[in-house]
């Protein structure tokens, strides 16, 4: 008896749902997000998803007035390229999804965006800094954050402002670390800073042999293009050997684990970043409050960027709907998103260049203030540099 009732209910529900699906074809537009919602990086990924949800809730009013309903579908890419790509195939199969917000990891975004681009589906990235994300020139792929190849120069500019005359450049021999270090060296040489050495190391424990020549050369600053796990150990050994110059790294430094590894030696370390924590943005105060109220905890790094990415997606959708006079196609949405100009977001004013980079990227220089890992989020913001994207810079040069 019970079974029969439940079957009837199930059938009725299924009919209702299919009815609503038929209706949905016309006036429901879906925005998907793809971030790691499980695994070690889920702290960032969940916060990004939450920010997308908050942005849709707060900003989808104008589109609803046009007669459309915005639905949010979060996906979990687990920070894995294969998972992200198989999700991407599911996403492009759902006709009503018109925009994707994601990913956290460049390694996931690169293959997944190939799938999106194949179906003309627009993707806005809040966090992917690898130059290749936009350098492929896909009309569908845009980002609201900065690029790795402009981070190195940012560090060099700041070192120059500090009056540094000589620098020793280290890197971890990875594409990321060596890349950033090369761009740092190039800009530093252009600015007239003496580069005393450029050395890669895969060492993870004993840096004695690297420290000896550095001590002998006595540079005013050491720049290390790499990740905190190597840099923290290097720095603590260098200080124990008597190195008392300045130390700087790229956003690979940006983890409280750095403070844990370097301890007191790490205090005063400078690092550059493409995406600061939400509390450094003057426009984000209201966002932080709303976020805390809705989710009961402060937003993580990249949450404000995810909010901005969603806001731009909604603006693009709105103008695409107005232009098409009904439900727009994916191509129209992608085009409209790229056309959004001077969007005043939480993290700055964003206009995309032809490749999808923000025309003017914001790059931050921060300084470690405490050896206590718990104090990491209080690191001091020292400078914000506005650097044009490669395309914008090239255009300016031609003029």
């Amino acid at each position: 008896m019970k079974q029969k009732v439940s079957i009837i209910i199930a059938v009725a529900l299924a009919m209702l749902m299919s009815l609503s699906l038929v209706q949905a074809q016309d006036n429901v537009i879906k925005i998907a997000s793809q971030t790691p919602l499980s695994g070690p990086q889920s702290v960032l990924g969940v916060s990004m998803r939450n920010a997308v949800e908050l942005a849709i809730e707060q900003l989808s009013g104008p589109i609803e007035e046009l007669g459309f309903k915005i639905e949010f579908v979060p996906y979990d890419d687990e920070a894995k390229p294969d998972k992200g790509t198989s999700n991407a195939n599911l996403i492009v199969a759902d006709e009503s999804i018109l925009v994707v917000i994601g990913h956290l990891n460049s390694g996931v975004a690169l293959p997944a965006s190939e799938v999106y681009n194949g179906s003309n589906l627009a993707m806005i990235s809040p966090a992917n800094t690898n130059p290749n994300i936009t350098d492929r020139g896909y009309p569908t792929v845009s980002r609201v954050c900065g690029r790795d190849d402009l981070q190195g120069p940012t560090g060099a500019e700041f070192a120059n402002q500090l009056g540094v005359k000589s620098v020793y450049v280290l890197h971890d021999t990875t594409a990321y670390g060596e890349g950033v270090a090369r761009f740092f060296r190039q800009r530093a040489e252009e600015l007239g800073i003496t580069v005393l050495g450029f050395e890669g190391t895969e060492e993870t424990a004993n840096f004695d042999s690297l420290i000896q020549p550095i001590l002998a050369l006595n540079p005013e600053m050491v720049y290390f293009g790499g990740i905190y796990s190597q840099m923290g150990i290097f720095l603590s050994q260098a200080r124990a050997q008597g190195f008392d110059g300045l130390f700087m790294g790229p956003d690979g430094t940006d983890s409280s684990e750095f403070a844990q590894l370097a301890g007191e030696a790490g205090v005063g370390t400078y690092y550059t970043s493409v995406a600061g924590p939400a509390n450094i943005y003057p426009n984000a105060a209201q966002f932080i409050e709303d976020y805390k109220e809705k989710f009961g905890e402060p937003p993580q790094p990249f949450a404000a960027q995810a909010y901005d990415a969603t806001a731009i997606a909604l603006l693009g959708l709105q103008s695409a709907i107005e232009e098409a006079g009904g439900k727009p196609t994916r191509e129209q949405v992608a085009k409209a998103i790229r056309a959004v100009t001077d969007y005043e977001g939480l993290t700055g004013t964003i206009t995309f260049d032809a490749n999808g980079d923000p025309e003017i990227g914001l790059y931050y220089v921060l300084q470690v203030v405490s050896a206590d890992p718990a104090e990491w989020s209080n690191n001091e913001l020292l400078a914000t540099l506005e650097i044009p994207s490669p395309l914008t810079a090239a255009a300016a040069k031609e003029e």
Partner: protein, 393 residues
């Protein structure tokens, strides 16, 4: 006949002159001779490499116009020597484990590098526990180092004995490849066991010794030599002193005690020494205990020196130490010591000089170090001190 030969390997001179009396004295045999040997070797190797370094500096000036290579080498010479000798002693202490085990069993214990890792992890646990109980700063640093050494040696030594009992003894009659594979398996097991252990208990992968919170280790000792001041790390000095003391003790155990005589007997001929009343299994266990304890001590000293270790820390020093054991002549204890020092010092000098040539850089250090190894082995296939041993019947 053979009994007397085994027991009486200390020659007794009927009429001794003063020189022979000195040579027979305990102080000479177990203190002056081994330490003198190390000093002469270190001095010789350093002088040779220093000359080579200056020759390179003069022959190939650094491509960077801002750098005068000779001045650079002047400045970093003392630092290079100290770091080379200290890491060389670490390699030596690990190499001893390989060589001792090879000596008695003719088998390479590839899990030995994990005994080194376990030693450094034990050192971390002990030091962290001292810090958590708030007594780290109150303890006398020398007492603390001794305590940590004893803990690391005990844990690694007992682990080595267990390893032998559980994994190698049942396979003693098996073909030689079989225990080799087992050793690699144990190596993986230990790495993952330690990794999982720290992940569960502390949720940490990088294990940071609280060594920088001690004033004594946080700042280097500044020694002025002429115009340049040299920063000497107390941890490097600590490695050198502890290693010398331990090596002297090992020399005494192997060459001056009944236990050592037993180990040497088993190394020469297992069956025969068994027949003559030596407890072979006990001697093999003790060999593993000594080798493991040295590996553990090396791990703990290395950990204090570098500050942060991971469960994967054993791989590279283990590989270099194995190389050192082969270089010195595997099975030969003095050979392991000299091999370790050679690799450490050569590496330090190569690192110090190569860094000034952008086309090469420090990444070529290992290639050149191993070229030295190959060269030596071409001319002396059994290693520096190895003897050509005929196949035992």
């Amino acid at each position: 006949m053979s009994t007397t030969a085994t027991v009486q390997d200390r020659p007794v001179a009927p009429k001794a002159n003063t020189l022979e009396l000195v040579q027979q004295s305990w102080i000479y045999r177990f203190l002056l001779f081994p330490i003198g040997q190390m000093l002469i070797f270190i001095a010789g190797a350093t002088i040779l490499l220093t000359v080579i370094a200056y020759a390179i500096a003069i022959a190939f000036p650094a491509p960077n116009p801002n750098i005068d290579l000779v001045t650079q080498i002047n400045r970093q010479l003392p630092g290079m020597i100290i770091s080379g000798v200290s890491i060389g002693f670490v390699y030596s202490m690990i190499a001893l484990g390989y060589t001792l085990v090879y000596g008695v069993l003719q088998f390479i214990n590839f899990a030995h590098s994990e005994l080194f890792m376990v030693g450094s992890a034990t050192g971390f646990v002990v030091m962290k526990a001292l810090e958590d109980n708030g007594v780290l700063k109150e303890w006398n640093p020398i007492l603390m180092i001794l305590f940590m050494l004893v803990c690391a040696m005990t844990v690694s030594g007992i682990l080595a004995m267990l390893m032998e009992r559980i994994a190698y003894r049942p396979l003693r009659g098996a073909p030689r490849l079989v225990p080799l594979i087992t050793a690699i398996g144990i190596s993986f097991f230990l790495i993952d066991f330690v990794r999982a252990g720290f992940a569960i208990t502390r949720n940490e992968f990088n294990l940071t010794y609280p060594v920088r919170s001690l004033e004594m280790f946080a700042t280097p000792v500044r020694v002025a030599i002429g115009e340049t001041t040299v920063n000497v790390r107390t941890t490097s000095i600590m490695i050198i002193i502890s290693a010398v003391i331990m090596l002297v003790i090992l020399n005494y155990i192997v060459n001056g005690t009944k236990l050592g005589r037993g180990i040497r007997a088993v190394a020469q001929d297992q069956t025969m020494s068994g027949l003559l009343g030596v407890n072979v299994n006990l001697m093999i266990s003790l060999t593993f205990l000594i080798g493991g304890a040295f590996g553990g001590a090396a791990g703990m000293l290395f950990g204090m020196n570098v500050g942060t270790i991971t469960p994967y820390v054993g791989f590279l020093p283990g590989l270099k130490a194995f190389t050192a054991a082969v270089l010195g002549g595997i099975g030969n204890i003095t050979g392991a010591l000299l091999g370790g020092l050679t690799i450490g010092i050569v590496e330090a000098f190569l690192n110090g000089v190569l860094v000034y040539y952008p086309a090469l850089g420090q990444r070529y250090t290992d290639i050149l170090t191993f070229s030295v190894l190959i060269l030596i082995l071409i001319f002396r296939p059994t290693g520096i001190l190895g003897k050509r041993v005929d196949e035992k019947v």
